[in-house]
Amino acid sequence: MYLSDLKIGQKAIVLQASISLPVKLYEMGCMPGEEIELNYAAPFSGPMCFLVQGTLISMRKELAQLVPITEPNVKSLTNG
């Protein structure tokens, strides 16, 4: 699973990536072990906006496709 697979409202935990991701991602608070939630996404595969460590961070889909996560939690699945 990757960040880009999340549906709006779903939460998951960020996993350690095997490839090198932009460090700015870590420094903005999006790092392994943290809970992350997809808040909204722009149409036509535009940027996606996630809530992590109390901050809303937008990134392009290409980057979201590289960030590994756990399976989204089931409770939010029914909500989302």
Binding site: Y26, G29, N39, L56, L63
Partner: protein, 671 residues
């Protein structure tokens, strides 16, 4: 003037933490806007009196997410801290932390205090914390950090006095380092410390990880630079999370409620686009029509001033220079103030409220194919009024690649100054007919707008292809919580932008306009008669006239005769000057009192006897004005914003070649 003994106090923190509010509160009207050496970033400073006999220079550093630079902004901040020059060394740091988003703010702050600089922490948005039911154990956190903490409220000015007192007694935290680079790294860190004479290992760590200089040595530890930085981030966040668990209480439900509610509309694929469209339309309206009255007022006042001086000053070269060269030149600078003030007031409102990030979010997908991002929307929309404020608005863009692309193509957008030229030429050569029920003239005008818009986008896409790939700067954008904009900050933004335009680009505009005045008023061996009844020399005898005649052979393939060539040359002052120059040129030939349009329509081609301004010449001229950078103020502002006359000159040349090519092509086909 900066006193040598003034304490150098830097404001540092993440973007959107209320940094400008605090800066404006601390410095008031004493602030100055300058530049960081070698970069186009704005540097705001203000000199204040902290206590009797103690002056402090407050420096507003750009907002950062980390001391490790990923953007030009962060580069500037790191350079300021690693600067060992005694005169430029930062004495005290005021760290900023948004109380409603402490975690990520404290991350940066621990990096800063690890540099071993005396520091204080200002926690902003204390009113919002209260509203959201957040509680912070200020004393506990202060003890752990080893620095004093002040709760401040930039809006109301609470806590400012206490903060000032804390600056006076600030010292290096006793509890640092909060992050200690591990054993593997010690070897290269020691090497950097020796080479650069750094007293603090963390400085060497920062310096070593910033580039290629020590890369080999670092990779011999088996870790990449990115890995090392990621390790630091993880360790620091772990520390910060411990503190927050101990000293911070929050009720998650209450937080972000408003932002989430507003975002439901603002970033909704359908409603969000409509809201954005309406806002951009209003921005255009305000810029286009709101500036009309003040611009006319400035114009009239200076015309009057010029007339008063003309009738009161003794005849002669000097009074001619003042009334016809300098005063119109100054008017030519001040005339832009209404547009600049309106645009920056509105941009500042968008940024302050937090909506600007949503604009970027929504538009990113559409601007990306052209190498631009959502932020380029503002210069593109503003460009339809005037390229000057449009180019200045790129100052708010952090990604320098998009910024340069936007500046490069902004002059192609159809600005208001082109309208009089377009209107004159269209009414001259396009028949007053309808085409599928639509006015043909209207359609041509619309097409010219579209040509400008698409030329800008395609030009940007082409440049993006050619430009060497810079270090990949990932698109990572924080969406700040919505906030009510503070009028104080909007006011400061307007004053600062206007001031810097008048004092910096204004100088160049004034200089060029005096030079152009000279070329238009004097000719080889010709001096206007400065006695009692001033009489100007005929424009064809002036330097501009001679130049126009000289370049006639070059302009011939475009269908331009020497008169049109003169008009094209003289409209470098501003495009609309074309109309006035045409009037001057033709009223010499024809004494009948008829409008410029009629006089131009009467002109015959000496070879064929047909009307000279036919469709081929008209379209050729229209296209020339669509592409050429016929505007000295644009040149001045580009040179100022890019800090490079070379950039402006190359841009002028390339757009000139484009204009020539388009006119040549259309004339060859239509003639």
């Amino acid at each position: 003037m900066v006193d040598k003994k003034a304490l150098r106090v830097a404001l540092v923190g993440r973007p959107n933490t209320g940094k400008s509010s605090l800066f404006n509160r601390l410095t008031g009207l004493s602030q100055k806007v300058g530049n960081y050496p070698g970069v186009t970033m704005e540097k705001r400073t203000g000199l204040i009196k902290l206590a009797p006999g103690v002056l402090a220079e407050i420096i507003d550093l750009p907002g950062i997410y980390s001391l490790h630079p990923s953007s030009p902004d962060e580069q500037v901040v790191m350079d300021s801290f690693l600067n060992e020059n005694v005169d430029e060394k930062i004495d005290v740091v005021i760290g900023l932390a948004d109380g409603t988003n402490l975690k990520t703010c404290l991350f940066v702050f621990t990096q800063i205090i690890d540099l071993g600089i005396p520091a204080v922490l200002a926690v902003t948005m204390s009113d919002e914390m209260e509203r959201k039911g957040m509680e912070l154990d200020v004393l506990g956190l202060s003890e752990s950090l080893g620095v004093p903490i002040t709760l401040v409220n930039g809006r109301l000015g609470h806590g400012i006095k206490e903060l000032q007192d804390n600056i006076l007694t600030a010292s290096v935290s006793q509890n640092i380092p909060f992050f200690q680079p591990g054993g593997l790294h010690l070897e290269w860190i020691n090497k950097v410390s020796e080479d650069k004479n750094f007293d603090i290992p963390y400085k060497s760590w920062l310096f070593g990880l910033r580039g290629s200089e020590y890369e080999e040595l670092i990779s011999s530890t088996g870790k990449t630079i990115a890995r090392a930085r990621a390790d630091e981030a993880i360790k620091r966040y772990r520390r910060v999370n411990e503190w927050l668990r101990e000293f911070f209480v929050t009720h998650p439900g209450k937080d972000r409620r408003w932002t989430a509610r507003l975002d439901r509309w603002a970033v909704n694929p359908f409603w969000g686009s409509i809201i954005l469209l309406i806002l951009m339309f209003l921005l255009f309206q305000a810029l286009f029509f709101g500036s009309e009255a003040p611009m006319n007022f400035i114009d009239d006042q200076f015309a009057q001033l010029s007339n008063i001086l003309k009738s009161n000053l003794p005849n002669g070269f000097l009074s001619h220079l003042i009334t016809n060269g300098i005063i119109p030149g100054i008017a030519g600078v001040l005339i832009f103030i209404p547009q600049i003030a309106i645009l920056f007031g509105l941009i500042s409102l968008l940024e302050e409220s937090g909506y600007m990030s949503r604009v970027v979010f929504i538009m990113d997908r559409f601007m990306r194919p052209f190498g631009l991002s959502g932020k380029s929307v503002v210069p593109m929309v503003s460009g339809t009024a005037c390229a000057i404020p449009a180019i200045m608005s790129t100052r708010n863009m952090e990604n320098s690649r998009e910024k340069w692309l936007s500046i490069a193509v902004a002059p192609l957008i159809t600005c208001a100054a082109r309208l009089p030229v377009y209107a004159l030429l269209i009414s001259l050569v396009i028949p007053d007919q309808t085409f599928f029920g639509l006015s043909l003239r209207g359609l041509v005008l619309f097409s010219l707008y579209m040509i400008g818009f698409f030329a800008a986008l395609l030009g940007s896409a082409a440049l993006n292809k050619i430009m060497p790939e810079a270090q990949s700067n990932p698109f990572l954008l924080e969406m700040p919580s919505y906030r009510f904009p503070q009028l104080r900050n909007v006011g400061h933004a307007i004053i600062n932008r206007t001031k810097s335009f008048v004092t910096e680009a204004g100088k160049i505009i004034l200089a060029i306009s005096v030079v152009l005045w000279f070329f238009a008023s004097f000719g080889p061996g010709k001096t206007p008669d400065f006695t009692q009844d001033y009489e100007a020399i005929p424009i064809e005898d002036s330097y501009v006239g001679k130049m126009g005649k000289a370049i006639e052979p070059v302009m011939k393939p475009l269908g331009f005769d020497w008169k049109v060539s003169i008009a094209v040359l003289s409209s470098f002052v501003a495009r609309e000057v074309f109309v006035g120059t045409m009037a001057t040129l033709y009223s010499v030939d024809d004494n009948e009192k008829s409008s410029i349009r009629e006089q131009m329509a009467k002109q015959k081609d000496p070879e064929t006897g047909e009307p000279y301004f036919n469709l081929a010449v008209g379209v050729s001229l229209l296209l020339f004005y669509a592409f050429a950078m016929q505007c000295m103020s644009t040149y001045a502002v580009v040179a100022r914003e890019t800090r490079s006359h070379k950039f402006a000159a190359i841009q002028f040349l390339i757009l000139g070649i484009l204009a020539y090519g388009a006119s040549f092509l259309s004339y060859s086909i239509l003639a």
